[in-house]
């Protein structure tokens, strides 16, 4: 079935883009009708789960809409739309990689550090020598020997509050070392 819009009975993609740029919603509808299943099919091959496909698909058309005035109608529409789809999909991939790289080191490992029972193994992998001597002792006793703050305080001849501060500062320093190491 031929669509009619503007002066042409069967406008080209580029003519439709020009009409879309001037605010014609119908022009967008026709372009969407022509390309949405192609974009969706392309994204299905690139992405695995349904939610991601839908999110990226929406993002592609939102980006198309927001950059519509930048489209030069002397060029072809399909490669332009494809470039948008590809870029959005690649950006999505990059974001996923950053998230999966970031979460375990900063959150999971540090959560383990803060929990005396589950943090022992992970703590063994960390070089505590970077910490000042008293902080290192406090952290070791707290997480490797599973000692209470009161016991550590007695051992270090200080108050439990001071031990809490020592441990807290030690963890803070380890966190910043993680961050610097690219976590």
């Amino acid at each position: 079935m031929k669509e009619t819009l503007g002066s042409s009975p069967d406008p080209s993609d580029e003519e439709l883009m020009l009409l879309y740029q001037t605010g014609q919603e119908r022009a967008f509808a026709i372009l969407y009708q022509r390309y949405s299943s192609r974009v969706y099919g392309f994204l299905r091959k690139r992405l695995s789960d349904q939610n991601s496909i839908e999110d990226v698909f929406q993002a592609v058309f939102v980006k198309l809409h927001r950059s519509r005035e930048q489209f030069n109608t002397s060029f072809t529409f399909a490669p332009w739309l494809f470039t948008i789809a590809r870029t959005v999909a690649l950006d999505w991939h990059k974001k996923q990689v950053v998230e999966t790289k970031y979460v375990p080191r900063s959150e999971v490992e540090l959560e383990a550090l803060e929990s005396p029972t589950s943090g022992t193994a992970e703590l063994g992998l960390i070089d505590l020598s970077v910490l000042p001597r008293t902080q290192k002792s406090a952290v070791e006793m707290r997480y490797m020997k599973d000692m209470s703050f009161d016991d550590i305080a007695r051992r270090l001849d200080t108050t439990p509050d001071n031990v809490r501060q020592l441990v807290s500062r030690g963890l803070k320093q380890l966190r910043s070392l993680f961050a610097k190491a690219g976590g």
Binding site: G23, R38, G41, F42, K45, E54, F57, F71
Partner: protein
């Protein structure tokens, strides 16, 4: 080298895009996209009024500086030219300058859907802005007869429409599709 590989990858992906399996997107996703586009292409009327009002507050105030009639500016060229056209002519051109400049500027700073909204609503935001401006003049003590008020409004509306169309046309020719 890297560029060549990227270009090759791009071309391969593009082929896949053009010849690959077409899959209909879910209806709810399409609906959301259409809703987003529809809303963006049809901005709310009050937002247009507010934006035009803000533009007018700046441009309209500046336009008063070029006519010493209002005691704000020192230039006499505009005042002398307009008054030489007689009371009616002066009033019409006063409204035209006041609203014309605002709408000319708005034509360049408004988004295309916003300008479309102004045009689609029969330029009513321009008329409303003119009426509000006139009311403010009256509030500040201007003594204007009804026929002159209408003449001012007519000048404001005509110039507002022309200015909108001219700036919109310039944008269309020089920016869209390029």
């Amino acid at each position: 080298m890297g560029d060549k590989i990227n270009a090759k990858e791009w071309a391969k992906d593009f082929d896949l895009f053009m010849s690959g399996t077409e899959v209909q997107p879910p209806t709810h996703v399409s609906r959301e996209i259409f809703e987003f586009v529809r809303k963006d292409l049809n901005p709310e009327y009050w937002k247009i009024l507010a934006k035009l009002g803000a533009t007018h507050a700046v441009v309209g105030s500046l336009s008063l500086l070029i006519c010493s009639q209002f005691g704000m500016g020192t230039g006499v060229i505009v005042m002398n030219t307009f008054t030489s056209l007689g009371v009616f002519g002066c009033t019409v051109f006063c409204g035209a300058l006041f609203l014309g400049l605002t709408n000319f500027v708005a034509g360049f700073i408004f988004a295309i859907p916003e300008l479309n909204k102004v045009r689609r609503t029969g330029y009513s935001p321009i008329l409303l802005l003119g009426a509000v401006s006139l009311t403010i003049f009256l509030f500040f003590g201007a003594n204007i007869a009804l026929n002159l008020a209408l003449a001012w409004l007519m000048g404001a509306l005509i110039a507002g429409v022309i200015a909108t169309e001219v700036s919109f046309g310039i944008r269309r020719v020089f920016t869209l599709g390029r």
